[in-house]
C-alpha cells in the first residue's frame, strides 16, 4: 500500500532460509488478492450503477442483471482459498489449502514447459558452466 515496486519473499519460510513450492503457489494467490485490494474501489457512472438500481427497485435482486454477468470476472476468484460452507467442503473430501497448493505446484512442475532456449545457445551455456567449474572451482574436466 505504500507503493513499493517489487515485493519479494514469495515461497519463503523461516526468514528466507527455506523454500516451499506449495507456499509459492499460495503466495501467488495472496498476491493477486493484494493487487485487487490496492486497486481500491473505482467510482464512476459505470460502477455507481444508479440506472441498474432504479431498474431493480426495492426488494428485487441483481443476479439476473446483464451488468452482473458482464462484471463477474471483476471479482476476486481464488482457486486455493475455499469460500464454501463447511458442509460442502466436507462432502468434497475436506482437503486443506496446503494440500491443494501442493497438488497444484506438482502439476505445474510436471506439466509446464516454458518456451525452450535455442538448442545451440543452451549447448554453449552448458560449455560455459563446465569451463567455469574448471577455471574457477578447479573441478576436474567432466
Amino acid at each position: 500500500m505504500a507503493g513499493a515496486n517489487l515485493i519479494y519473499g514469495a515461497g519463503m519460510l523461516e526468514s528466507g532460509v527455506t523454500f516451499d513450492c506449495s507456499q509459492l503457489v499460495i503466495d501467488d494467490e495472496i498476491a493477486s488478492m493484494i493487487k485487487y485490494a490496492v486497486g481500491g474501489i473505482p467510482v464512476n457512472d459505470g460502477t455507481l450503477m444508479v440506472e441498474d438500481i432504479a431498474t431493480v427497485g426495492a426488494r428485487g435482486d441483481f443476479l439476473s442483471m446483464d451488468s452482473t454477468l458482464r462484471l463477474t470476472r471483476s471479482q476476486t476468484q481464488p482457486r486455493l482459498i475455499d469460500r464454501r460452507v463447511r458442509a460442502e467442503w466436507e462432502m468434497d473430501g475436506k482437503s486443506d489449502m496446503y494440500a491443494r497448493a501442493r497438488a497444484k505446484a506438482l502439476e505445474i512442475i510436471e506439466s509446464h514447459r516454458p518456451e525452450p532456449l535455442d538448442a545451440a545457445i543452451a549447448e554453449r551455456l552448458r560449455i560455459m558452466v563446465a569451463d567455469a567449474d574448471q577455471t574457477i572451482a578447479g573441478a576436474a574436466p567432466a
Binding site: M1, A2, G3, A4, N5, L6, I7, Y8, G9, A10, G11, M12, L13, S15, G16, V17, T18, F19, D20, C21, S22, L24, V25, D27, D28, E29, A31, S32, I34, K35, V38, G39, G40, I41, P42, V43, D45, E51, R102, A105, L106, I108, I109, H112, P114, E115, P116, L117, I121, R124, L125, R126, M128, V129, A132, D133, I136, A137, G138, A139
Partner: protein
C-alpha cells in the same frame, strides 16, 4: 435517461494508499543520512571502489578504508539514476516496468533448505530445485520476476551462481535476479546473459538479469558488494542493493535511526553506481528489520518489518528510484 457529464475539479482515488511520513519527517531522515555519509562515511573494502569514490570527489582515507561522501555528490547521484527501470524477460511479454506506484511481486534469493514438494521432506537445496521453482515462477501469473530462490548445493561452491543462472535461464522466460559476488563468477554470469540476449549491447538494451547483493550493516561495503555494483553499472544492468540492517543489532534500536543507517548504506552504493556510470539503473532494496533482542533473531513478518518496508518504499519514491522490499 439522465445525461451524466464527466466529473471535474476533484482528485480521483486511484486505489488504497499508505503514507507513513510527513515531508518534514522525510527531510529529517534525508538530512541525517547526508550527515552520516559526510561525517562518519562508509567502510569500503576494495581499492577499486575506493578509487572510484576518490576520483568522483569523495574524501577517501586509504588507511582506514573509509569514504566520506559530500552532500552534493549524493544529491547528484539521486538525480542521475533513472526513475523507471524495465526488467526484461527472455519472453518480452514478461518484461516488467518498475516506476513509482506500480506494485509487483517476486521470489527471494539464497534459500538453503527445501520442503520437498513430492515427499514433504526437509532437505538441502539442489540445482533441480532452481529449475523446478523457475518453472513454477514462469507459470504463476502474479510472479513478475524470478529472483533465483535457492542455492544449488550439489555443485561447486565457487560456481553455484553460474549453475543457478543456467538452470533459471533454461526454465523461465521472466526477468532473473542473480547474486554473484566474486569478479570471476560475475563475469561469467554477465557473459551467459549476453549470450542469450544476443550480445553485450543487446543485453544493455534488454537486461535479462539484474544483479543483487548486500552491504554489511553497519556502514560496510564489502568487496563483493562493490564488485557487483561496479560490474552492473559497466554492463548497463540494474543493480539491486539490499541493505539488511537489524534494529538493535547492526543498526540503532530506534527505527528512525535504523532507517538512517539503512539509507546511508544504500545511497553510498548508489553513489558508487552513478560515479561508475552516470545514469545506470539502480533499485533501492531493503531486508532491514528489527533484531528481536530476546532471541537474537531477525523478526521478519513483524510490525517493525512492515513499517520499515513502508518507510523504504516512501524514501525510494521520494528519491524517484524503484524499490524492492520484503513481503513475507
Amino acid at each position: 435517461m439522465a445525461k451524466r457529464n464527466l466529473f471535474a475539479g476533484g482528485s480521483r482515488s486511484r486505489g488504497l494508499g499508505l503514507t507513513l511520513f510527513s515531508s518534514e519527517d522525510m527531510e529529517s531522515i534525508h538530512l541525517s543520512t547526508l550527515e552520516v555519509l559526510e561525517r562518519t562515511g562508509v567502510f569500503v573494502e576494495a581499492d577499486e571502489a575506493l578509487d572510484i569514490f576518490a576520483d568522483g570527489g569523495c574524501s577517501v582515507d586509504r588507511e582506514q578504508h573509509v569514504a566520506r561522501i559530500p552532500p552534493h555528490i549524493v544529491e547528484e547521484a539521486i538525480a542521475a539514476a533513472p526513475p523507471r527501470v524495465t526488467l526484461c524477460g527472455r519472453d518480452p511479454r514478461n518484461d516488467v516496468v518498475l516506476e513509482p506506484g506500480r506494485v509487483s511481486f517476486c521470489t527471494f534469493s539464497e534459500g538453503i533448505m527445501m520442503i520437498d514438494v513430492r515427499t514433504g521432506e526437509y532437505r538441502p537445496t539442489t540445482k533441480q530445485d532452481v529449475a523446478d521453482i523457475g518453472r513454477l515462477t514462469d507459470y504463476l501469473s502474479q510472479m513478475d520476476t524470478y529472483q533465483i530462490s535457492v542455492v544449488s548445493r550439489d555443485v561447486p561452491t565457487e560456481t553455484y551462481e553460474i549453475h543457478n543462472l543456467q538452470a533459471a535461464l533454461l526454465n523461465t522466460t521472466k526477468p532473473l535476479g542473480t547474486g554473484p559476488l566474486e569478479p570471476e563468477d560475475t563475469r561469467v554470469v554477465i557473459d551467459m546473459a549476453a549470450l542469450v540476449a544476443g550480445g553485450m549491447d543487446e543485453l544493455r538494451e534488454r537486461p535479462l538479469i539484474y544483479l543483487c547483493g548486500c552491504p554489511v550493516s553497519p556502514l560496510k561495503l564489502t568487496a563483493g558488494c562493490t564488485n557487483f555494483v561496479i560490474a552492473a553499472a559497466r554492463a548497463g544492468l540494474p543493480a539491486l542493493v539490499i541493505s539488511m540492517a537489524m534494529a538493535g543489532g547492526s543498526a540503532p534500536v530506534a527505527l528512525a535511526g535504523t532507517l538512517v543507517t539503512h539509507n546511508t548504506e544504500v545511497l553510498a552504493t548508489l553513489v558508487l553506481s552513478q560515479l561508475t556510470e552516470r545514469g545506470s539503473p539502480f533499485i533501492y532494496g531493503s531486508s532491514t528489520t528489527a533484531l528481536d533482542l530476546r532471541f537474537a533473531a531477525a523478526s521478519v513478518g513483524s510490525p517493525e518489518c512492515a513499517m520499515i518496508n513502508a518507510a523504504v518504499a516512501y524514501l525510494a519514491k521520494q528519491y524517484r528510484l524503484p524499490s524492492f522490499v520484503a513481503g513475507a
